[in-house]
Symmetry: C2
Subunit: 227 residues, 2 copies
């Protein structure tokens, strides 16, 4: 097949096919050959021309997911029918109910075993991601929907606790008590963002990728939670 | 000088001298030669025989500090004059007022820039250290001084937030609001461990090693805390 005159189109096709396969079979069980087969009319060489391996594809999918989150944030900031508090709820609601987002997060989560990736993520959760929440919290402070002495701390804690402590909980059984703790704690410092509906959605969303199969060697089990 | 017949005595002398110098001059500005000079009657070769470098000395000091914390925990568990809640307060009070402990923590904190060390510490804060707090929380549940639905989560959050989020805050100005957030949040999930006195001691203790000089390139400054 002749080289595509529009490399961006080819890249997008590869990313879409990979995302579909990662979601169906899991990242670990998808090979570059599976992606070749899925696309049908692209050679393995053509795919490697765009991405050195499936890790690079996942990295680009993570970046695309990240840009989608930023797009959502910008879109929500424009909305005049929602208060700041409602905007934060909407960001979380969409994150924990988006299958695409959860699939990518689940695939990317296993790389947090790598300490460099973990350190990098901890840094962005406490800076870039927290900055996004901080903007919406300040909207809420202005419109009166949020009253907190700690807008900056609340933004960092929401991002850090949700993305690290809840999403990366060692077992699925930890997801609900951790989510409820975060809900209660954030409300106590003036950010009552989690109502029962959002707690329920968050637990169900995160349990999908805290399932034991994704953590072959858990540090803890449901049985000894109360030891 | 003849080789010491009691290598443990020599090791302890080296550790004590290094601890004194690290505390006075800071880890970074202490050389192995300084330790030789401080000890007076030991050759540089004799010191290298025990420790390959000052990093190894700091590691051993950290281990010694860790064992002291465990000893304190065991000692407190035996006390019948304190409730579980008071025992946890005492652990924190002693940690944030012990100059030796704070000096070592401050010196060790700079190695958290290394992602492997950070990942290792995050793991022990959430397991071994949290287990210690969990034991005392369960004592408190038994004696009625603590009423919480989340004993395990509260133990992990106390350890993780205090050791990571408060102790490793990017600037000294972050220490007080972060400590107050942790105090309010833990009280909200049933662990009212921080009273005003303990908040004050914690802020003063941690500010010592959150001073700007220990963080040459802060990610954030006091000035933009409220941006």
């Amino acid at each position: 097949m002749a080289r595509n005159a529009h490399p961006e189109v080819t890249r997008r096709r590869i990313l879409d096919a990979a995302q579909k396969l990662f979601s169906e079979k899991g990242f670990e069980h998808t090979s570059m050959q599976d992606i070749v087969n899925e696309l049908g009319n692209l050679s393995k060489g053509a795919i490697y021309h765009h991405f050195p391996g499936k890790e690079a594809i996942l990295e680009e999918l993570t970046h695309r997911d990240w840009e989608a989150s930023h797009g959502l944030l910008d879109e929500l900031r424009q909305r005049t029918d929602l208060t700041g508090l409602e905007k934060i709820r909407e960001v979380i609601r969409r994150s924990v109910t988006s299958e695409t987002h959860l699939d990518i997060q689940r695939d990317a989560a296993q790389f947090l075993e790598d300490s460099t990736t973990l350190a990098h993520n901890l840094q962005s959760w406490q800076t870039t991601v927290a900055d996004g929440f901080h903007t919406l919290i300040m909207d809420g402070v202005k419109d009166g929907s949020i009253t907190t002495e700690y807008p900056r701390e609340a933004a960092i804690l929401l991002s850090l606790l949700l993305n690290y402590w809840v999403a990366c909980a060692p077992t699925a059984a930890d997801t609900e008590p951790r989510t409820r703790c975060v809900a209660t704690m954030l409300a106590a410092i003036g950010l009552p963002v989690f109502n029962e509906e959002l707690i329920d959605l968050t637990v169900r969303g995160f349990q999908a990728f805290n399932a034991p199969s994704f953590y072959p060697e858990p540090h803890d089990t449901a049985d000894d939670r109360n030891r």
